[in-house]
Amino acid sequence: MELLSGGDILIRALKDAGVKDVWGYPGGAALHIYDALYRQDDVFHILVRHEQAAVHAADGFSRATGEVGTALVTSGPGATNAITGIATAYMDSIPMVVISGQVPLSKIGQDAFQETDMVGVSRPIVKHSFLVTRAEDIAETIAKAYYIASTGRPGPVVVDIPKDVTDPSYKVAYEWPTETKMRSYQPTDKGHRGQIKRAVKTLLGAKRPVIYTGGGIVIDNAAEHLIALAKKLNFPVTNTLMGLGGYPGTDQQYLGMLGMHGTYEANTAMHHADVIFAVGARFDDRVTNDLEKFCPHATIIHVDVDPTTVSKNIEAHIPIVGTCTSVLTEMLSIAEQLDIEPDAEALAEWWQQIDQWRADKGIYTESRYEPSSGTCIKPQDVIKMLYKITGGEAIVTSDVGQHQMFAAQYYLFDKPRMWINSGGLGTMGFGLPAAMGCKRAFPDTDVACVTGEGSIQMCIQELSTCTQHNLPVKIINLNNAALGMVRQWQDMNYSSRYSESVYEDSLPDFVKLAEAYGHVGMKITHLDELEEKMRECFAMKDRTVFMDICVDRSEHVYPMQVPGGSMRDLWLNKTERA
């Protein structure tokens, strides 16, 4: 058997775990590992400019591909810089392994230089973590880490490795475990058959059903199963922010996003539903509004792979614990066996009602927002233009704020893994590094980062990574010269007292900034330039382009749920309430 050092074992184990790319940043405690990386060609390392970005990039890669993303950081500040990225992945159940260097075992607990208790600091935001204490344990730990990260409800796993464990002078036999089994970890797969049958019968008897799906459909690659069932039943479907693309955005049965900034038609349909079929969604507070007033008439069927999610916020009448794919597959086959058809008459009436809502105050009706003109470019129209020019085929990452909501509302995602955003943690700074991860995974696909001048500045340094590693992403900066979403809340709740949400005079010249990094910068101030410039931007296939687009500063995101109300209590614009 081959004898290898801990550092070499780690890299070999990564290769055997199927890892091709590692996003990272070196430092003292990780130097043996970096030396091992240098001496091989199997695992490619991408040097970022901040550890937060390494984790977001690995995360973006994972969301776009479904594979486990990998980040590598050093101890102390490297590890703590990674924390925001780990928390982001944790909240959205993204499979990821973060490897951190640690001070040598003998120094742990001594307040050594760059010592941080990484396992302790990351504990509440990881699916699991390991502190490796022997070179002999590295391969098995890495195998377990990837297994845990990617199975059940996925999530980030931290592997903390003290420097002496990767010491080049200590060599041990390398063996990649053929099988990973853990007596304490056996994720559920198939749901309870009796419950599934009950659920199918309830669905078939429904008169005003809504299928409400979330990120679980995307993560579990269950979109096709969802489409098959929704088509068979002819039920309306709404997606959460995390679930966009899980059901085709352009399909007639699609009601748009639900929740705080969800469509009038989706939220109103939810409120009046008699059966709600929730799959891979978690009744988040950004969806339900006031729990007491949530969907008063509905029988709730809840499918999720994580038992703690089921009946956590809303008591499910029919709880089912299982993966989205397995449960939906079984439901379809049961629906086909049962000799019951959905109530066509009731459904026709329900659809008529829904179409009425759509026509009255639907998200795509003319009157949702004032049209753009001249130098007043509406952010919504920028997203519509992006959709038009990319043919709906781009991977769109976003940051957090108004621009994120406009992107979610107006870019119609027909396929999963095309919409990449930090839904759970709402992390500004996510968009650009996540776009890098996506571009790395799909070099031939257009990758657009829809961002704001606030968010982009939280990880702007990654423009340098784009240069070094040739990651030609397109940055669509909806520049409203403010922390727009904060300002919107201040308009609505604090009599427009803009406490620390404006900084107009100090914004950088983004065109020069892009150029300083070797990229192309464009500034758009007039509607007439928008289409042509954006076409130019996407025609430059091998360049990173920063489009700084000055949008209407006074625009708010609507609809918006009225705090403390039910799903359907919405502001439709600054003066109109539903």
Binding site: G120, R123, H128, I148, D306
Partner: protein, 164 residues
């Protein structure tokens, strides 16, 4: 209501801190906690008590189960079970009347006096938490110097058992 939750846990570094961390992270209280390796030293058995309604207890059990290191979790309170706690109490006992009173109290509660000095008695008592509380009340007037309680250990009655 009071809940007694039993957990079979991998006896690994960090495992206990994950259990404890979960409680503070999710806003649950831990009233008592006991933990020790079992006959199989790769496993720890942990008993903790907390307060909560059915919904909360269900969530706690599910959340505990979700931790990668936990092998089995049960809420003992839902079925017949045995609850035991060990207590050591050091009492002021210098004059003879008081010494006699303590002795009779210890007898009534089926405890034992495990250490004696001219000025103190140290009493050992095992039982459910209510019994220990009652003893404390009974001797409070006498003068308690120190109380050490182990926290609750629990086991289900009958044929049910928690094992891998």
């Amino acid at each position: 209501m009071k809940r007694i939750i039993s957990i079979l846990l991998e006896n690994e570094s960090g495992a206990l801190s994950r259990v404890v961390g979960l409680f503070s992270q999710r806003g649950y209280n831990i009233d008592t906690l006991t933990v020790a390796p079992t006959d199989d030293d790769t496993l720890s058995r942990l008993t903790l008590t907390t307060q909560g309604d059915d919904h909360m207890a269900e969530q706690i059990v599910k959340q505990l189960h979700k931790l990668i290191d936990t092998i089995k979790v049960v809420d003992l309170t839902v079925g017949p079970h045995i609850e035991r706690e060990l207590m050591l109490v050091k009492l002021k006992a210098s004059d003879n009347d008081i010494r006699a009173e303590v002795k009779s109290c210890v007898e009534i509660f089926r405890g034992t006096i495990v250490d004696v000095t001219p000025n103190t008695y140290t009493v050992q008592l095992a039982g459910d938490s209510e019994k220990l509380d009652a003893f404390i009340e009974a001797v409070r007037e006498i003068g308690i110097m120190e109380v050490v309680r182990s926290g609750v250990s629990g086991i289900a009655r009958g044929d049910k058992f928690l094992r891998v």
